[in-house]
Symmetry: D2
């Protein structure tokens, strides 16, 4: 970037355009410092042209989009050059009995590039439908953020923890000041040696809440805790939150939404729809989901929560990095009576949003509308609870179908015939 | 679906269309059994129209795409109704010193809806650039699949394991028959009680390899192991693989690619580019990435590998559910000399593909071209190793920038000003 | 045991003795059904003689003991044949600054067969002494027991959890009825599918509390929870307690006592007593206790808590199987100023007793007296807190000495010269 | 210790004795620097008298022992003051079908202070006996030690790993030089950033092997690896071994002996001996050992391996701190036919010795003789394999009895009636 930029020497829009493209392509100009007079779309085009020039390729498909590039490039994705097109398929009708979804039949959009996934999950929906629907319950655990503090040692660590406990009300008041949708639910403390973690847990209404939580923590730490105690916060995130990493504390305490879903499948459904039997399903559950996960030292005692989650998250504008957390959990399939089973999923750690983040983007917003998810300021949090219930039923559908396929060795055949869906 | 379908009674294309839309919308017809004479595009439109009718919404943005819907709807996503548009931004120039990328400066596409992520990672690229580049090394661990078998007990389990060891060559021959790109690298056995797992590990060239591995396992199990031993395979996947779940066996043994990347940052780079210091960075590393992860019982001793991975995976057509595995790993930041640091990332479990799966789709293929990733049948595996090296450097950039931001409390400010990028 | 016993046909005490020995030795009589007129000592002797006869060996040392065999064989060890003699060594003076030990210098008995362990820990005591003592704080977490229940499914599981929350006071009343030393501190619930765990946490005064907790749970489950809810308890221990197994829930929530101990060691102490330096100690801490434990997927981020614990537990009559839990925890060693360090241990899960169990036995009771540990009904719990503080300081001594030995490669030499102490 | 010692000023043996006791009691003399002319017994007595004086207590029971105090105080326990007497009970006859124990019926000594444990395990022996015996198989995994090295970074770490692989034969030769009983089985490497672990795995014949392994590692590291590579070993133990801490690497790779034991129990045995049923046992297995351990984030999917291990280890002179490792493992109980079960235990990590360490002490040696465990130089390793087989069957007995007790709620009653055995 030491060489003089071409841009300074030129005049016409076409020349400016060419010069900017050249400068970026050659690394003389930075991607995000384009002249102020350009529109968002022009910037996207200039950057993309620079990428094409540099790499000697055509990026025509990335250029094909309908979302609002002004908004996208300022709120969602800096240095934007276009979009990734990810196919969306639907599964359903999926019958859900929840507390927010009261016996509805829904179609659920999944964005995926992995063949066989949608078809398989769709079979799971048929099985659930034939079984009378999935029963779903969701606990609103809340979003967590855990700043980490440095003390002088064991004694100060204990005093600091006690101080926090004594001032919980004041801390609540100050964090809740940030937004009428933010409620502080708990501060879990953890002290070892010279290090103290405070794991704040918030209800953030229909938002996923990670940023609201971070900002609220930042203010109360800087405005109250540090000045009052003299104990320094080393990092607003102390990895005891835990965001986007698999961790026992999330498995045990939960994070975001904790989702339970269940269906009872009789012999008829098992044989006709899932081409399996109670005995076979219970054995795969035992040897794969339980013993295999035990043998592997796994935190995911399930077949493939992550597949459904990733597709659901991309379709509905969730943060796809949080699929990591959603992969934790336990599927149970138990005999019930001679030839039936009760099957359930347990997902303790699913961050979800009905508002904010990627939910506002064009296609993602459409996907949420398709699910009837519409935040209502009068009922904060109800929209995201509805979303969580639907997700739980969809994940159950995915589990049932893959587990059944494994009992009959359909997995390899599905991949040979249908494409490349990696299923568990 | 018991009611008589409207479709049977009608004649004109418009009527047929209307009837199909109605039938699907009302749940009388299934999503995937549309008349054979329709094109892929027509099917997509009919399904989408049915969804719109059922939910009373408009899905105009999903309809806006340029990918090949014939291919997408048969190979990648059943019951297709459109696409999700995910904004792509670029970071760079990112200077990489690897064995497949030999001192190149690259721009890396990231597909994300989370504001601040691209900007932050881009700052990391600047830091790496100023530091002379990132050194990257990748171990080609290989793709794993672990069928699970049922034996009569401890004695037969041991005999079965011994039989497998004795017949490893024959098993290799039979699995490698499936494809000239598939090499069997290892069979790791695990026996407990009446259960035996065989964790097959394959080199799959430039493919991610999960499906090739599954098919090869299926054939050798059904065609050789079961008939010869009389020991039954209960499931082709025994969760000891481990696909898309966090697990110690993957952390310890690796899976896919094992990626190491490193940069040495002096005082100047730390202060000017990252607005931090060696001391501050080392302390956040210690209290957050190490102690915080220890306290949390985490498998991810890092700040946010998953963020970069998810964006990279969606942009380049990887399987986004495998972000789960990629989130495992260990960042190290150590003092080197008085005011410099050496920073590294360690990712033991990154499944990656340069061919197959989502890599063939329109925008994803463009993203790979932008990175110069082009499989060469004469050098199988070289393209995906190149991709892995680039990914390693990008993840390092993401770590450095977020860790630096945490030292200076930039995190909350970034979220307040830029949007909603959830960073770790 | 089908053959007729010799015992029935004989008369004199000597003949009876011989016949009993023969019957047991030959497997015709059971070990625990000896005639009622025999004393405890006679039974011990008969069983031992039978063992000698059967195996053709002499067990003269096992016969050498002074404990009360009546009490031992009925309260502590069925089918008693003698004792194991485990050498006890002492370390000290160990200077402790706690809340129950107020700046005392103590000698601590350790029962071990592993050479070098006592010598090494003793060096740690000298280092702590030279550093002015160890600061110790103990949190009285409490003893846990977690019965597991079977429900009909997700809905009943949630209702059951809610019922427990609503009836916590009644449950408290009923559990605390069992003993004036038992206080119910918390019921942590965990529900997945058809399974619900209730993790009861009790303060049990100076007792370790496992049995009091089990009995209290049994009564409230059978007398209140089951009859009122109709939900069946499948097992009084549901492995969510967690007793004697390493587990994340204990690491995160604590169990028994949670112990923190700390010392600040300056250059002089490090060099003279520990033959090391701040730099070297901090590096071993980093690469071994932190990175090594991370790499291993360990729950014990320390050098060898278990060594000190096992020796302390055997000497003082604790339950040695609970060494498993005590091995969890995190040692920290950080630079403080140019050439000093602050070192701490963190043990979240240490079940301990000052009364009950093995503490009442002859030598074990002496060991407790040596430490000034004497339960006082007026201050229930104070004696065991004192014991925990002493243990914490002793474990810290052990860590410091071994860590220092590792910096200077003393470990192998110690084993070559002193015997066989396996030190971490 | 600055004050002048009394010892220097006196003359008669009685006066010397008194002065030494005073000096130690007052902290003026150190515990381990007693005059050379004293016998081992005299030193033990002086130290004990000093402890009595200091604490104002009588330690008469500790003084009661028959072991060789010369040997004990120099080889096993420095600063010896006496012994801990731990009651030994026996269980049996225990019928074992192994490869080293060929259908024998054995009585097994257990040293414990926890009432009900021996009685319960003895019931398990009766069940196994009635079932025709326990089938046991042991894998001789080997003892591990993992030094940790510091490199300059990613590139040198990889080169170092490659160098080790290339020089494995030379390393083998040099480590095996140390002892004719030591065989190097494997070097497992692990590199991340600037840190490399080499996990050496050895067969150590009948010894447990930790010290032989440490010494062999020390020599090859100092004599070959460091000088040839210039890469420095930071610590001979890098916590990737893993000794006495619970860790995934041990669970997955094994350590010491890996033990499998199994029994098939029919309806008659279940009802008559264990007072339970197949159905009840399978359900407790499922909800406690599997789901409960999953919910707890446990590494021990069993009821109470640690209880039997601790008692067996103390009786037979094993290192009791290694009970930590032995607590890892998986119990399986599965229906077999309508009313029978097949039950098995799986213990991947059991360090054991038939020679060396505490096995040479008086009562411990007797316990080994009772089991017919006698090392034979012509068959190195056979004695310890025999010991492992017996242990496996004993642990299975313990599991069966406790699991059965839990089905019938016997646990609380046993504690109320028999004492304080904490069973799982």
């Amino acid at each position: 970037m030491n060489e003089m930029s071409n841009v300074l020497r030129i005049a016409t829009p076409e020349e400016e355009w060419e010069a900017l493209v050249d400068d970026i392509a050659d690394g003389r100009a930075s991607l995000h410092q384009l002249p102020a007079h350009l529109t968002a779309q022009e910037r996207v085009e200039i950057r993309r042209a620079a990428m094409e020039r540099r790499a000697g390729v055509r990026l025509e498909h990335m250029a094909h989009y309908s979302l609002d590039d002004e908004r996208a490039s300022t709120q969602h994705c800096e240095n934007m050059i276009g979009v990734a097109q990810v196919p969306i398929g639907v599964i359903g009708p999926l019958r859900v009995h929840g507390e927010y979804v009261r016996d509805e039949e829904l179609f659920v959009p999944l964005a995926t590039t992995e063949g066989a996934l949608v078809a398989s999950a769709n079979r799971g929906c048929r099985a659930i439908h034939a079984a009378g629907g999935a029963t779903v319950r969701v606990d609103n655990v809340g979003m967590t953020r855990a700043p980490v503090f440095r003390t002088s040692g064991v004694v100060q660590s204990q005093e600091f923890v006690r101080w926090i406990e004594l001032h919980e009300e004041e801390i609540r008041r100050r964090t809740e000041d940030q937004s009428r949708f933010l409620k502080l639910l708990e501060i879990k403390t953890m002290a070892m040696g010279t290090t103290v973690f405070l794991r704040f847990r918030f209800d953030a209404g229909d938002a996923m809440g990670m940023n609201m939580a971070t900002i609220a923590c930042s203010r109360v730490v800087e405005g109250f805790i540090e000045p009052e105690t003299g104990v320094e916060c080393v990092s607003l995130s102390g990895n005891y939150c835990v965001d986007k990493k698999p961790a026992a504390v999330n498995f045990l305490e939960g994070r975001g939404k904790r989702i339970h879903a269940e269906a009872v499948l009789d012999k008829h459904v098992l044989e006709r729809v899932l081409k399996t039997s109670a005995r076979a399903l219970v054995e795969v559950q035992y040897r794969k989901n339980l013993l295999g996960s035990v043998a592997a030292g796994s935190m995911g005692f399930n077949a493939h929560y992550a597949n459904i989650l990733a597709a659901f998250f991309i379709a509905t504008g969730q943060d796809p990095a949080q699929v990591v957390e959603g992969s934790l959990g336990v599927t149970c399939i138990e005999s019930r009576g001679p030839e039936s089973v009760v099957a359930s999923i347990y997902m303790p750690d699913v961050p979800l949003a009905a508002i904010g983040g990627g939910t506002a983007l064009a296609t993602q917003s459409e996907a949420l509308k398709l699910l009837g998810v519409a935040p209502d300021p009068e009922r904060p949090g109800a929209a995201v609870m509805r979303l969580a219930e639907i997700l739980g039923a969809a994940v159950l559908a995915g589990e049932l179908s893959l587990m059944a396929a494994l009992t009959s060795r359909d997995l390899a055949r599905a991949h040979e015939h249908l494409g490349r869906g990696r299923l568990g």
